[in-house]
């Protein structure tokens, strides 16, 4: 499968899903990302990423309870699957590996 690797934005979204635990649904994720990254995040992009993550099996979703807000429409809550967790860990490990071999001096000089 082409997409077992996580893209940068995909990773961010997946991390946000993981971080928000039970409150991760598209609009909240969008807001959170916007706050943290300080850049405009489009709902459409988040939506399609979430959709792709689910397709890859990295995230799963369930529909919440209907409330009066949102015109009575239910929210779709996302959670990270085991595959998602291992993908996140794998990417973190990869980064850590690089971090561990970078000599401290080389960064300080910049």
């Amino acid at each position: 499968m082409k997409g077992t690797n996580l893209g940068e934005f995909e990773e961010l979204v997946l991390l946000t899903v993981a971080a928000m635990v039970n409150e991760a649904y598209s609009v909240a994720i969008c807001d959170d990302l916007e706050k943290k990254t300080k850049r405009a995040v489009k709902l459409g992009v988040v939506h399609s990423v979430l959709n792709r993550l689910e397709e890859k099996g990295l995230a799963k979703s369930r529909l919440g309870e209907a409330t009066k807000a949102r015109g009575g429409k239910r929210k779709r809550y996302y959670a990270v699957t085991n595959a998602g967790k291992s993908a996140l860990l794998k990417s973190k490990e990869l980064r850590d590996q690089y971090w561990s071999i970078i000599p401290e001096l080389s960064l300080k000089r910049i």
Partner: protein
């Protein structure tokens, strides 16, 4: 609450979203958009929020959101079609009676539809062979004398208009002037044949697409005394010899040079001719004839204009109006109006006077469309009625289908497919009926025979199939909707039929409608038949019995007379200019002897001294014409009573004898007064003031009174004599009574049309009624058996079952008869002179006929059920 409504996102954008979006993604996506919308309403205002919402909906139109089941659904439908066809086939076979009723009913009505389609296709294929057909227009004119507004537009206009347009108008590309009447005998050497043709201006072949086989199309009709023959005419005249350049004699008078041979005129051309002569000829022959260029001589010239692709119709019309304003004062008491008409609308357009050839006319097309529509509607009602009636049996099937997972769309699809199968089977039968009907339809009116081919072409077949599918959808749509609404749970849980019968009112309305239509058509046919009979036996004021009218076609009357007198069967021979009472009209101006300012345009006929006694015209006073030689000066006239009344001459006819009348510039003495007779056709009133003039040399017909036991043999004898004297013209003598009958061919054609449609309508309605009766009796079988066990009599049961239907027929009669009578009394008959009074008899006959058919239908079925053995029925439970 109000506020909530106000801030809801635009509904149509929402609908768009739910239309394209996958159902599983829809809800939360909608929710997300709503959430953003609510935020935007607060921060940016309602309008912008709505706009953003809309754009967001558009932005979410992505590959992963678009619903795929479209294809799946199609695939399912496609797979299911096999199943639909199978179940439909089974249901058709299982209910043989209902299927037969549906197929026969639809086939009958569709054959009328097929006829209509082929007539329409033929009508609209007229003149399409002209390359420029869509940019050719004709100038029509309207003639109004004083305040008389009754005349229609004429397809003709005056030569003066033609010249004015050609020489002074702008804004058109080319103009063709046609003048009718180039008909006559063409002689080359020893051979003479009669041909019909037109005078045409030189641009004929530029504007119209009539290809020349030989000759130069630019110059063929330029020089005076040029003539162009069609291939067929040339062949008839010259055989295989070269015709181009030869000189032919027209009507034993002038010589014309053949300057071109053209391809035969196609069938679908509204202009038909065998030869064309150059219009410039008329400039030579009619030189000095002031009438040729008179403004009100607008009876023989046709002007066709080729317009640019885009032109200002209003401007051109304004120019025509200006021309009329300028020219109208040149003729006293006369107003002429001109109007453009597109050539494409000539065949299907309104019926004008003086058409260059026969046209279909919009009236006939509308009547035909209306009748076809009514009959087809009636058959579709049958289908709807019977299908819904059978819902009791089918509803469980639908219930099970729905439980298994069929959607509404699937059920609708199934029933529409079933209806299409039925209508396609009906199409096969309808096509057969169409082939049978075709010759009868064409022979209904001689014009139709000439106008329509009704040939089966690929286009026609495609149209037929499209039509059948359309009928299937139309017939099946309502039952499909009905069945698709069935609630599976209710149907499967509760086997009682009560619920299904809720639609009874609608079905009753449909039956009433069908029977009203049938009754109206039958009554109308009977009324028309009565009128027709009335006109056939109309007392014209003179005798037409056993008189054979022989058109002389240019032959000498004396020669033929001499030969005919030798036949023992011939009792008398007279000569006349025209034949009265068949719709022709000859007019002549007469000055009022008491008022020189006043003049009258009277109807007239030229006769010889034998005419009045031979036809038993009743002379009130005076005497018949005195026999004179051919060369004698005309001096006598016989008038009818109306002339005396019009000119305030003495009421007593005896006192008017000897008065002088100025007729067409000649002073004639009244020698006799005859009783009024019907000069025009019996159903119109033209020609009330009528005169007879005496002339032997103007005779165009011989009226031969025969006394014979074997008229056909006598006719054959006379034909032999004719053939001996005239080798060129065919013998086309007709008996007077037959000619009168022919004059009413329009009435008899509409009578036949209405009659056959009435027959079809009553067939369809009866089939539908039969179906309904069978159904009702079948479903009430148990009830009837129990009633019988309890002691009901057979008669009582028949009454019980049939009562409802007779009430419906009664209602239908109450609707149909007053409507029909009102229509004839108020709309049709006031326009027709001398009509027979309306009687109740026709309506009563129609009702009785329909009732008898209904009694047979209802009676046979109810009797069958009423006679059934109740034990058999009840045992089965």
């Amino acid at each position: 609450m109000n506020e909530l409504q106000e801030i809801s996102p635009p509904a149509w954008a929402n609908r768009l979203l739910s239309w394209y979006c996958k159902p599983e993604l829809l809800e939360d996506l909608q929710g997300d958009l709503n959430e953003y919308f609510e935020r935007n309403v607060k921060s940016k205002g309602i309008t912008r929020a709505k706009l953003i919402y809309f754009f967001d909906v558009l932005k979410f139109f992505r590959l992963y959101t678009i619903r795929k089941p479209e294809f799946l659904n199609l695939l399912i439908n496609f797979i299911m079609i096999g199943s639909y066809i199978k179940t439909s086939g089974r249901s058709i076979v299982r209910n043989k009676l209902f299927s037969a009723i549906n197929i026969i009913g639809l086939a009958i009505s569709m054959s009328v539809g097929l006829l209509l389609i082929s007539v329409l296709i033929d009508t609209y294929s007229y003149d399409k062979f002209h390359v420029n057909h869509s940019s050719i227009y004709r100038i029509n004119s309207h003639y109004q004398y004083l305040e008389n507004k009754d005349r229609n537009f004429m397809a003709t206009t005056s030569m003066r208009t033609a010249r004015a347009v050609k020489e002074t108008f702008t804004g058109f590309e080319d103009v063709v002037i046609l003048h009718r009447g180039f008909n006559g005998d063409i002689t080359f050497g020893e051979k003479t044949i009669p041909l019909n043709g037109l005078w045409a201006s030189e641009s004929m072949f530029e504007v119209f697409t009539f290809p020349l086989l030989q000759g130069n199309q630019a110059t063929a009709l330029k020089e005076p005394f040029s003539v162009v023959l069609t291939e067929k005419a040339a062949k008839k005249m010259f055989g295989d010899e070269e015709a181009l350049g030869k000189s032919i004699i027209f009507n034993k008078d002038k010589a014309y040079t053949i300057t071109g041979i053209m391809k035969d005129v196609p069938t679908f051309s509204h202009i038909k001719f065998e030869m064309l002569a150059s219009l410039s000829t008329r400039e030579v022959t009619e030189k000095g004839n002031i009438d040729e260029l008179a403004w009100d001589n607008m009876w023989n010239t046709y002007v066709y204009l080729k317009m640019p692709e885009e032109f200002d119709a209003h401007l051109f019309q304004a120019n025509l109006n200006n021309l009329c304003i300028k020219e109208n004062p040149s003729v006293k008491n006369t107003t002429i109006t001109l109007k453009l008409q597109a050539m494409d609308s000539i065949m299907s357009g309104e019926s004008l006077g003086n058409q260059i050839g026969p046209t279909m006319g919009s009236t006939l097309l509308w009547v035909l469309t209306g009748l076809a529509f009514v009959v087809i509607l009636s058959a579709c009602f049958n289908y709807t009625n019977l299908s819904v009636a059978r819902s009791l049996r089918r509803s469980r099937e639908i219930g099970i289908r729905k439980v298994i997972g069929a959607l509404r769309g699937h059920v609708i699809g199934q029933f529409v497919v079933e209806a299409i199968i039925i209508s396609l089977s009906a199409l096969v039968a309808a096509f057969g009926v169409f082939l049978l009907l075709r010759p009868h339809f064409k022979s209904m009116e001689p014009d139709l025979q000439e106008l329509l081919t009704l040939n089966v072409s690929p286009l026609l077949v495609i149209c037929f199939f499209g039509f059948a599918i359309f009928i299937g959808v139309a017939a099946g749509f309502f039952p499909a909707l009905f069945f698709s609404r069935i609630n599976a749970v209710q149907v499967l849980k509760n086997s009682s039929s009560n619920r299904v019968f809720k639609k009874l009112t609608l079905r009753k309305v449909l039956i009433v409608f069908q029977y009203s239509i049938s009754l109206m058509l039958i009554t109308a046919t009977l009324i028309m038949y009565k009128q027709y009979k009335h006109y056939m036996n109309f007392d014209l004021g003179f005798s037409t019995e056993n008189i054979l009218n022989i058109p002389l076609q240019g032959n000498k009357a004396e020669l033929l007379k001499k030969e005919l007198n030798e036949l023992p069967e011939v009792k008398g021979i007279s000569a006349s200019g025209m034949i009265t009472s068949v719709g022709s009209f000859w007019g002549v101006p007469i000055k009022n002897p008491n008022n020189p300012e006043d003049s009258l345009f009277a109807a007239f006929n030229v006769v010889d001294e034998n005419y009045i006694p031979l036809h038993d015209h009743h002379l009130l006073a005076g005497k018949n014409f005195t026999a004179l030689s051919d060369s004698a000066v005309e001096s006598e006239v016989i008038v009818n009573e109306q002339v005396l009344k019009r000119f305030n001459l003495p009421k007593d006819p005896n006192l008017s004898i000897g008065e002088m009348l100025r007729v067409a510039g000649k002073d004639l003495r009244i020698v006799g007064v005859m009783k009024d007779f019907q000069y025009g056709r019996a159903n119109n009133e033209t020609g009330k003031e009528t005169i007879f003039r005496y002339s032997k040399k103007d005779a165009q017909h011989l009226n031969v009174k025969l006394l014979s036991n074997d008229l056909p043999a006598t006719y054959a004898k006379i034909e032999t004599i004719w053939k001996k004297l005239d080798t060129v013209h065919p013998f086309n003598a007709k008996f007077y009574d037959d000619e009168i009958e022919e004059a009413f061919k329009g009435l008899s054609a509409s009578m036949k049309l209405a009659g056959s449609i009435a027959f079809l309508a009553i067939c369809i309605a009866s089939l539908g009624l039969l179906g309904m009766v069978v159904f009702t009796t079948e479903t009430r079988l148990k009830e009837i058996s129990i009633r019988k066990v309890m002691g009901a009599t057979e008669g009582g049961l028949v009454y019980l079952l049939g009562r409802g239907f007779f009430v419906l027929l009664g209602i239908a009669a109450l609707i149909a008869l007053p409507l029909t009578y009102f229509f004839f009394e108020q709309v049709m008959l006031p326009k027709i002179a001398n009509h027979a009074p309306l009687g109740l008899l026709e309506g009563v006959i129609a009702v009785i006929v329909v009732m008898i058919i209904a009694v047979v239908m209802i009676g046979s079925q109810t009797m069958k059920v009423a006679k059934s053995n109740p034990a058999e029925v009840l045992k089965n439970e």
